[in-house]
Symmetry: C2
Subunit: 338 residues, 2 copies
Amino acid sequence: MKNKLSINDIAKALQVSKTTISFILNGKAEEKRISKDLTERVIKFIKENDFRPNQLAKSLSTGKTFTIGLMVEKISDYFFAQIAYHVEELANKSGYKIIYCSTENDTQKTKELIKLFAERHVDGFIITPPVGIEKEIKDLMQNDIPVVLFDRFFTDFNTSYVVMDNYESTYKAINYLITTKCANIAFIELESDQNQMTERKRGYVNAMNENRLTPNILRIPFSNDKKQTILQITSFLADNIQLDALFFATNYLTMHGIKAIHNRGLKIPHDISIVAFDDHDFFDIYTPSITAVAQPIQEMAQQLINILLNDISSRKRTIQQKVVPAKLILRDSTIRKI
Amino acid sequence: MKNKLSINDIAKALQVSKTTISFILNGKAEEKRISKDLTERVIKFIKENDFRPNQLAKSLSTGKTFTIGLMVEKISDYFFAQIAYHVEELANKSGYKIIYCSTENDTQKTKELIKLFAERHVDGFIITPPVGIEKEIKDLMQNDIPVVLFDRFFTDFNTSYVVMDNYESTYKAINYLITTKCANIAFIELESDQNQMTERKRGYVNAMNENRLTPNILRIPFSNDKKQTILQITSFLADNIQLDALFFATNYLTMHGIKAIHNRGLKIPHDISIVAFDDHDFFDIYTPSITAVAQPIQEMAQQLINILLNDISSRKRTIQQKVVPAKLILRDSTIRKI
DNA sequence: CTGAAAGCGCTTACAG
DNA sequence: CTGAAAGCGCTTACAG
């Protein structure tokens, strides 16, 4: 920005002190009892010259940047991309901008990114935490920087968060499958000990046990690529020909699982029913359409922003925890058997 | 950030001037011939106290924020979400952070957002421009702020950009359909006069004409919701039963088109072949898998960052324009007819 | 009703 | 080899 106007230039041009300009700029003209006449002259000048105060200078002196740090596992994933969209839209309304990054669920990378965002003095953080960053989160909180976790949280200490009801929604979905006469239901998940995953599994296992059915769990390593995952699910299906339903713990697993089901020449839902965790555009279009446990994305975004902005603007930090219910969207991939 | 260390505190604690601290911090110790002994003492102190300079202050005095403004049509769209992922990853390597927003292709909103980003002194812009923001782009350039457009550009004035070869890739895809003996090929597009769309259409029309086939174009209003789009395509199919292939100009149109094809009870590819512009995870999984014109997303992101960072770091602005070739990914939705 | 001055936390030209 | 001082462009407590 070369030769851009500053508050000083205006002060000089108008022969007024910059204090006065600043007050007017910040809508404190009345409060500071600046004369109407002067106020109007200044406003006119500002409009005519399209003056925009330098936000960096403003931030440096007020300590507020009106920037939120959004740290998600991977911005391009359907779920996170949707969250990013809604969070930005809502933040915008309150004058906040979003700076984002993908953690890739990498602990070390995330620690560094938190520091980088803190250096830039973001006003608050929205984070899907990988394991092992408890200390960094605590540091932020001790430094009085608002943080709200989402998608998952730490069970061993208290933070604000917005998560889905992973246990309940999975539990219900499995029970639904059972009402359709499925009995051999497998649970396909990522190898992860984060609570969003363990809760889904707990919902599955409890639903199965309560119905005197035997849980059957396939764990896919994180390091797998697409092809490996498809192969692994394919051979799992070959080894478990009794299966009549699959519950996929993430939407990407569902995508790969569908390929595997094809490889085995099985028909959905006739030979095997499937339910996906996390909805996706795709599931509605696919033939047959796919039953899914849908996260209420817009509501989650709204909660995240509410909690965060509220925390930013209030003087004392509060802990707020929201567990939002999911919605089981019934489609054609689950059908009554026999 | 309460009671955080500043360069002043360090200067006091170590009984050195802050000038010296600043030099050491910026790796200018040797250049400024600071004694090794002092340098080490300072570095040690910084490490021990985990001192991180306030980037706001730094930016205010240097004029550099190491922030890039990414303005896309909609961050949650598959294509833009992928671009966002790669752009951030690449920018990160050079110490840049990304601040993003969705323009929704709204001219007025975009103008305002450009100003908001400029106020924050982003070092450069990556923009998918809606129509009518030529003046704002020119202003940025005149103020010596690097801008690179992508996905589309303005034909009436010179800017840096990275776009796909929309004409050529569509032209080739249509010709491919013709080699599979399709003759009644319709082109389904969004009502848009932006060049990425008009170029795709030009590729279609030329390929048809050169083969003495009659173009048949369906334009979907921007304002349509999902349901309306599906209905519109469904009735188009009913009115044009001679069609043996559809080319969809965007991946969302493809999704809706597939539903419409289902509604009509047509089988892909037996009754009708389809080709999508823009690839999507979904297309590979769908049965039948969908032939698509794939944008080389990672390459585009790389070009965007190369051009922008190069422009940021060089003193004189350059105009760089890259037209990257697309790849026609043949899958099961296009099959030789008869 | 309005302004001079200090401060936010850095950088850097200049001086010795 | 090192430092005092001015400056980046704002805000705000204080004074009159």
